[in-house]
Symmetry: C2
Subunit: 337 residues, 2 copies
DNA sequence: CTGAAAGCGCTAACAG
DNA sequence: CTGTTAGCGCTTTCAG
């Protein structure tokens, strides 16, 4: 293995000069800089990650904790992970993958052994058991999603409340008077995942504000249940003309179910969703939607962490990304009664 | 930060004894073992990962390289990643996540800096450009999938050729005489990803052997193209009664398309697939399928690596998991003509 | 069965 | 602008 002293000798300088030439932490003359890099190149030198971490107390690794549980749309998690890795690399960091399953002990382990410098957590719950730990951990973290109290923590997410509102306003603007929200599976609400509840809040508030009548329907992510909710909605709310879907796997089956029940989209029924743009675009009837910008959230989360690691600047505790609605073929004006 | 010398002092032993008590690399009397663990517990000691890696030349981290490209079913990748992480933890290892995008330079980087001890690669192509690198790298690796020549490497995957055969044999056994394979998107074949081609080989060979007439149809993973292939198949092969699908996102839309064209499944048409069991079970008509055992492959891949890291035993270069077909509602005997 | 002590390869004062 | 040197915290000979 070629080490820093080899490079130093080869370039005719001291080891520290090589180190500084690499880190840029002190000025190096152009001439020696060139010689050092030449030597590095010729010898194929790679600094030993462990030695570096030991000497600098920085591993340049971020931990990413991904959820496993039911009711979470896998492609969103994956896209998020990819964007975290890609962005981390831009800042010369790597990403260690942890599963939620490891729990608090897992977080403590990677933090306390200095395996990682900082942590990113997904799928945060309103009263997430990891919150107290994160506050005492000596390493910075960023959470995707908002717990009940985010004091002293850094959180980022789509503004789901505003997203729910935005969908309703879009429908209200088109003249719809009776709307329904088809939401995430019941277990997502039961375990008090913040984002699902916030959509409901926004949806309901905006409906009330606009004088619309509204109902909320948590729903399993199976094709069978799509048919079931569709039937139930038509039966219980015959005047329904606007639906907001916050349940990725159900989007397509639900539209199918409505059409099989004789409702044209958007002729008889307007449908909007909160989901990744790719999903909204890939449905047979492209769906008007508020984008779930997983990639952007991942990028921003890493950037927040890097800034926290930098030390100087302080970062905002809460970052809420404003909803961006794209009108597509699935919504239209309410048909004359 | 509490370090090994603190623990040693607290327990009244030397640092090396603490180290050995932790690693078990030499006999420790029951009494001192107890005292050491007590001290560790009381002080909340965690060995510093970097220091450990430096002193032992082992980081206890595995690299996992995941694909990004089109034509790959995301949930399979995700399930695979989770199973790798879970299994790695069982052997006291962590997992560093890399994207294919980083390319050979990325592999070289994490290997040469000793950030990781070993590598797992997914989405291997027939003539994968990373092969020569892997052979020269001083660290062990395992590939998911088989390149054209796997000499000197360790590969594992579902036996896709046998899987293709198994599907055909199942259909042949039910009396079907004309079968078609609806395959992965064309780009998957173009870039010579091994597994897609092997399915075709097995499918065709088994059809020939059984005297069935067969055709192969690479297919985009969009709902629109499902309809298109379905129509084309019926037009060009009116006698068709058996279909093998090797394209996850297309499975459900394709069955829908057939039924919309007036064919009952399995009454008029038997459908089998090569896909994850969860997918096969979740379709409206549960599909007879050969399982794509991502979790098992992930587990086995890690176990192979751990054995290679252990040094002693040598591991097989090729591990082909035999196909396991589960009969479900989508296949039945050929209707009397 | 246990201790002492020599590094592992790099960074960051400190000194010039 | 550059060199010298003292660790970073742990593992592992070597010695007993």
């Amino acid at each position: 293995m070629v080490k820093i002293t080899d490079v130093a000798r080869h370039a005719g300088v001291s080891p520290s000069t090589v180190s500084y030439a690499l880190s840029g932490k002190r000025p190096i003359s152009e001439e020696t800089r060139r010689r050092v890099h030449e030597a590095i190149h010729e010898l194929g030198y790679r600094p030993h990650a462990g030695a570096r971490a030991l000497a600098s107390s920085r591993s340049n690794v971020l931990a990413l904790v991904i959820p496993l549980r039911a009711g979470i749309h896998i492609p969103v998690v994956m896209q998020f992970a990819v964007s975290v890795v890609t962005t981390a690399r831009r800042y010369d960091h790597d990403v260690l993958l942890l599963t939620q399953e490891e729990g608090e002990e897992g977080l403590r382990r990677v933090a306390d052994t200095a395996l990682v410098d900082a942590l990113i957590l997904m799928d945060v719950q309103l009263h997430d058991p990891r919150l107290p730990l994160l506050r005492t951990l000596e390493r910075p973290s960023v959470m995707i999603g908002f717990p009940a109290s985010s004091e002293g923590l850094t959180c980022i997410d789509l503004d789901f409340k505003a997203a729910g509102e935005r969908c309703v306003e879009h429908l209200a603007g088109l003249g719809h008077r009776v709307v329904a929200l088809v939401g995430s599976p019941p277990e997502v609400y039961v375990r008090q995942t913040a984002f699902a509840q916030r959509v409901v809040q926004g949806f309901t508030a905006a409906a009330d504000r606009n004088g619309l009548s509204s109902t909320v329907h948590p729903c399993e992510a199976t094709p069978g249940s799509a048919r079931a909710v569709a039937e139930r909605l038509l039966r219980e709310q015959p005047a329904l003309t606007g639906v907001v879907v916050h349940n990725e796997p159900l989007l397509e089956p639900l539209i199918d179910a409505f059409e099989q029940l004789g409702l044209r989209v958007p002729g008889d029924l307007s449908v909007t969703a909160i989901c990744p743009d790719e999903l909204a675009e890939s449905v047979r009837v492209p769906v008007t939607s508020v984008a779930l910008p997983s990639a952007e959230i991942g990028t921003r989360a890493v950037e927040l962490l890097i800034r926290k690691l930098g030390g100087g600047s302080t970062v905002p505790e809460k970052t809420l990304l404003p909803p961006r609605l794209t009108a597509r073929a699935s919504t239209g004006p309410r048909a004359a009664p």
